[in-house]
């Protein structure tokens, strides 16, 4: 398998940030009761992780080890604030809806996790792909959870009502506890699947 393909597969599945690295869980709990906010969060995290990893990989040879974490936070903050500025200027409606979400991307553990685990020791191109794959790996899990939560919690998807007036919303799905047990179900399901797949592979 080529390095690029391996990095992509790792981020999306084998070493998925949510159910293997267990990173970015705070935002998974916070944003997934609304599919539209989830999609914007995913785009923001993917952009910041990919661009942050790329920049860091370019700078790693001249960066002193002592200040690497503070510089990493600076780089990620830079990209996140750029996203915030662009949204405020060109997509004010989305910017208003997201409110404090965008700034919170800086604290997403996936950004620092990929910087420390990958971008600090790899070439810029591959680091960019690693950031992209991890952002998308985080994204597809979040979208699945948001799909379930918004549909059962509000009876809608992307704010569009899909069920009739007779539907009783599952209020718990809108609140944080539902994200805890949905994430746990995802972790359990994905890890069971992976364990069975590896056992099957060993038998062969």
């Amino acid at each position: 398998m080529s390095p690029t393909r391996k990095v992509l597969k790792d981020g999306l599945w084998t070493n998925n940030p949510i159910f293997v690295q267990v990173l970015g869980i705070c935002s998974t709990l916070a944003v997934t009761n609304n599919l539209r906010n989830t999609l914007i969060m995913v785009l923001g995290v993917t952009f910041a992780t990919a661009m942050g990893s790329l920049t860091l990989a370019f700078m790693k040879d001249v960066m002193p080890r002592k200040v690497r974490m503070i510089v990493t936070v600076l780089i990620h903050s830079f990209y996140v604030i750029i996203v915030d500025i662009l949204l405020k200027a060109y997509q004010p409606a989305i910017s208003k809806q997201l409110g404090p979400y965008v700034g919170l991307i800086i604290t997403n553990c996936i950004l620092m996790g990929r910087a420390e685990a990958f971008a600090n020791a790899n070439k810029p191109g591959l680091s960019f792909i690693d950031g992209l794959a991890n952002g998308l790996g985080y994204g597809w899990v979040l979208v699945c959870i948001a799909f379930i939560r918004e549909f059962l919690g509000f009876g809608s998807l992307l704010g569009i009502k899909l069920v009739g007036e007779g539907f009783t919303p599952w209020t718990i799905m809108v609140m944080a506890p539902s994200a805890f047990f949905l994430v746990a179900i995802f972790l359990w399901g994905a890890n069971t699947w992976k364990a069975k797949a590896s056992q099957g592979g060993q038998k062969k």
Binding site: A30, P100, V174
Partner: protein, 209 residues
């Protein structure tokens, strides 16, 4: 003299240069988009005032909003610092709107409330800015919540109560109450206080017209 990568001198110079470079780039991006951001904020305020007066809806174009605002809305002198007031005549009757900022759970909530000069019935409420919990208190900006205040009769105590109900919106316009956001009772209490303060301001301005 060549500095070693881990020496104090190199660390200080490197950190300073990197911080300066990113700060300059951010300041540049901010400066380039500043005029556009200010124009967006002004438009959002004009739209919210018109929407509270019932003179605009999401279908109204940006140009229509600006022309309606300049022709139908009169900005009144600031009744008190931080409070803006607007007057519009709809049909034959004058209506007053106020832009008010009041504390919320995580930060200030800025809203525009329009009502008749005696503050007996609300014409409309628009949330202009808030920092409440996304997905919970943040839902006070959604149409189902703000629409509850449209044409709502104000209670004899000058309030509209925001209390736990079905969570779908209270359609009764005569009971002086609105459904709170499920899971955000504290934010709903802050909205209740904000609406009461806005109504009191409208009444005061209406009395001096």
């Amino acid at each position: 003299m060549k500095l070693k990568k881990e020496s104090i001198g190199y660390v200080v110079i490197f950190t300073f240069v990197v911080c300066m470079a990113f700060v300059v780039l951010l300041a540049l991006a901010n400066q380039v988009t500043l005029a556009r951001v200010k124009a967006n904020q002004q438009y959002a305020s004009h739209y919210a005032v018109l929407k509270a007066f019932g003179l605009a809806d999401p279908e109204t174009s940006r140009d229509e909003v600006e022309s309606s605002y300049s022709s139908k809305v009169k900005e009144l002198p600031e009744p008190s610092p931080g409070l803006s007031a607007y007057l519009s005549t709809i049909g034959e009757s004058p209506y007053i709107a106020v832009k008010i900022t009041n504390p919320g759970l995580w930060g200030p909530i800025t809203a525009i409330l329009a009502a008749d000069p005696k503050a007996e019935r609300i014409l409309g409420l628009e949330i202009l800015d808030q920092q409440e919990t996304p997905g919970l208190g943040g839902r006070i900006g959604e149409a189902w919540f703000t629409d509850q205040f449209k044409d709502e009769k104000v209670g004899t105590d000058g309030k509209v109560s925001v209390s736990q109900g079905s969570g779908k919106g209270d359609p009764d316009k005569e009971n002086s109450r609105a459904d709170a956001v499920t899971g955000a009772s504290r934010t709903s209490e802050f909205v209740q206080t904000l609406v009461a303060k806005a109504l009191s301001a409208v009444k005061e301005i209406g009395g001096s017209l």
